[in-house]
Symmetry: C2
Subunit: 382 residues, 2 copies
Amino acid sequence: MNKNDTAKKALALHKKLGGKIRISPATPVRNRVDLSLVYTPGVGYVSSYVAKHKKDAREYTMKGRMVAVISDGSAVLGLGNIGALGALPVMEGKAALFKTFADVDAFPIVLDTQDADEIVDTVLRIAPGFGGINLEDIAAPKCFEIERKLIERLDIPVMHDDQHGTAIVVLAGLINAMKVVKKDMNRSTVTVSGVGAAGVATMKLLKKYAPKVRILAVDSTGIVWSGRDDLNSTKKELIKHKIIFSDTGGDLEKALIDSDVFLGLSRPGVINAAMIKKMAKDPIIFAMANPTPEIMPDEAKKGGAKVIATGRSDFPNQVNNSLSFPGVFRGALDNGVRKITDDMKINAAKAIASLIQKPTTQKILPDMFDKRVAKNVARAIR
Amino acid sequence: MNKNDTAKKALALHKKLGGKIRISPATPVRNRVDLSLVYTPGVGYVSSYVAKHKKDAREYTMKGRMVAVISDGSAVLGLGNIGALGALPVMEGKAALFKTFADVDAFPIVLDTQDADEIVDTVLRIAPGFGGINLEDIAAPKCFEIERKLIERLDIPVMHDDQHGTAIVVLAGLINAMKVVKKDMNRSTVTVSGVGAAGVATMKLLKKYAPKVRILAVDSTGIVWSGRDDLNSTKKELIKHKIIFSDTGGDLEKALIDSDVFLGLSRPGVINAAMIKKMAKDPIIFAMANPTPEIMPDEAKKGGAKVIATGRSDFPNQVNNSLSFPGVFRGALDNGVRKITDDMKINAAKAIASLIQKPTTQKILPDMFDKRVAKNVARAIR
C-alpha cells in the first residue's frame, strides 16, 4: 500500500471499530447463580480474602495478568509531542499486539499531564490492579527519571519500551549481523546517531553485553564528548560511566570513519553513501528512524553496506519492538519477576537472535508473526 | 447455596479465572497488512488526525466506548475500608456486569490513595482515554466532594454509582410500591435510615421527583434535625435545602410513627416488627443493607409491611444497582451526554418502573436479566 492508501484505510478501520480493544468477562454471567459468584454476595468473600492476603491478588484478580500501557503523548512515534488523545490509537494498538503476540492482557492509559513527578504519582496510584507497567512514547530525558522512580517504588515490573524494548531487538539484530560479517562485538566500534530514549538504552545494553565494544554517540550537535559544555545530565553520565568514549569532537561523518556499525535512532538524512564508504570493512547499517530511515537501503548499499536493517516491514531485517515487549511481559508475569534486569534483557536478545540459525545479510531477525519469538523471550525473563 | 458454599465456589472460581476480565483486539492482527493498519505506519495517521480533531476521539478511539470503574476501596460492599486490592474483585465484577447487561466496555482502576484531592487529581489525569467515569465504593462524605469536583472539571459523565445508581433503582421501586398501596408520593412521609452515599442521593432524587414528599433522615445518633450540634456539612445541607425536615429530635422508632415508607440504607437490626406496626397504613419497607437487610422479610411481614424490598436475590423485589448503572452509561455514551442530570435519573427510574405494567406486592421491579432494562434506561439518558 502507498502512503495515501494506508492513511485512508487506517482512518476508515479506526472509525469503523471505534477503538481497537474490547473488554469481556472471563466467565459468562447468565443467571443469578453466576451473578452470585462473580458479583455479590460471592465476590465479598474474595475481596475479604484478597484484602487479608495481598500477595494472592496475583492469583485471584486481574493483577496477575494485566499490564498498563501508559503514555503522556510527549514523543509519539515520529510525530513528537501530540498529547494524550493523539497517543491513544498507538497505545490501543500496543494493547492489541500484547494480546496477539503473547496473550498478555494490556490496557491503554493516556495521561493528561506531561510533568514527570505527576506522571510518577499517577502511575503509583493506579498501579495496584496491574501486574506490570509498560511506559510508552514518553520523551527523553524525563523518561529516564520516570522509569527509575517507578522501578524503585513499585513491586511490579516497569519497562519503558522505547528504551529497553528497542535495545533488546537492536542487540538481537547486532548479534546476528556480527555473525554475518564475522566480527567480534568486543573488538568493534559502534557509532550511534541519536541520544534519546532508544539510543541511550541501546548503548547501555550493548556495553553490558560486550564490555570492550567502543561506542561513539552523536547527537544533533555532533560527537558527545567531555570537551562539550552543552551536555545534559544523561549524556554526562554516559561519559562518566564509560558507556561512550571519544577524545575529540566532530560530526557524524568524522565519527563514522572506521566504524564497524552505524546505529541510527535519530532522523532521516543524517547519513549518506559517501559516509558509509569511510567506515570499516563490511559496514553494518541499522537505520531505524520511522517511518523514513536515516538512509534508504538501496542508498546504503551504494556506500557498501553489508548488512542493512530498518524499522520498516517493506525491507529485509525489520527491527521492531514487537519482537521483544510482548514476550518480556509474558515472562515477567509467568515467572513472578518484579524487576527486569540487564541480564534478562541480554538473555531476551540472545533468545531472539538464536531463532535465526544461519544469519544472512537478508535475515538477521525472526519474523514478528513467528510464534516462537514471544515464547523464547518469555523464557529468558526469569 | 448457603454461605459456605458460595464462599468456597466464589474463591475457587476466582482462582481458576485469575481475574474476571479479558482484553481483546477489536480486529484480528494476522499479518503485516493488519499490523500496518492497527499499528505503524497506519496508526500514525490516525494519531495525527485525532490530535488535531480532539472531538473525533470518541469515534476513532476507545474513548467512545470505555468507562473507568474507579475505587479507592474505602467503602467496599458491607466490608468497609479494605483498600485497593480488596476492592479489585468487586470492580472486576462490575466491569463484567457492564458488558453483560449493556455491552459497555468498562475497566477497573483501584487506587493506592484514599485522599480526596489525590483521587480527584488521579482521575483527571487518566481521564482522556475514557468516555465515562463510574466511581464505586468510595466512603461518604468524601465521595460527594470527589464526584462534584470531577463533574465540574471533566467533559465526560461522572457518576458515583453507590449514590445515583442506588437512588435511581430505589425511586423506580418506590414509584411502583406507591401504586401497589395506592398512595401519592407527594402526600407521603418517607423515613430514611442511613445518611451515607446512597441515603443522601436517594433523598435528593426523591425530593426532586416529588417536591412535597416529607423526608425524615435518621443516622446512628437519631433523627437529623437543626437542633443537633454534631451534624457534618452534608447533613446541614440536607436541612438547609429542605430535602429533609423535622422539628424535633428522637430515634428511628419515633421517626417511623405514621411514616408511609421506611428506606433502609444502613445496617441490620435497626428496625423491628413492633416499629413497623406504628407506621401509617400499608407500610412500605425497603431494607437494603447488604448482605443482611435491616429487617428480614418475614419479620417485616409480622409488623404488617405491605410491600417489602431488599438488596437480595433470594427474596422478591430485589433493589440492585445492576438495573441502572449499565443502562445509564450505555445511554450517556450513545447519546453523547456529558453530565447526568437529575431529570435523566428520574427518567431512568420511570423507565425501569414502567417495565412492570401491574405492580404487585411481589413484583415492583424488573429482573436484572430482563434485556429491556438497560435499553429502556439508556433511552432515558439524553
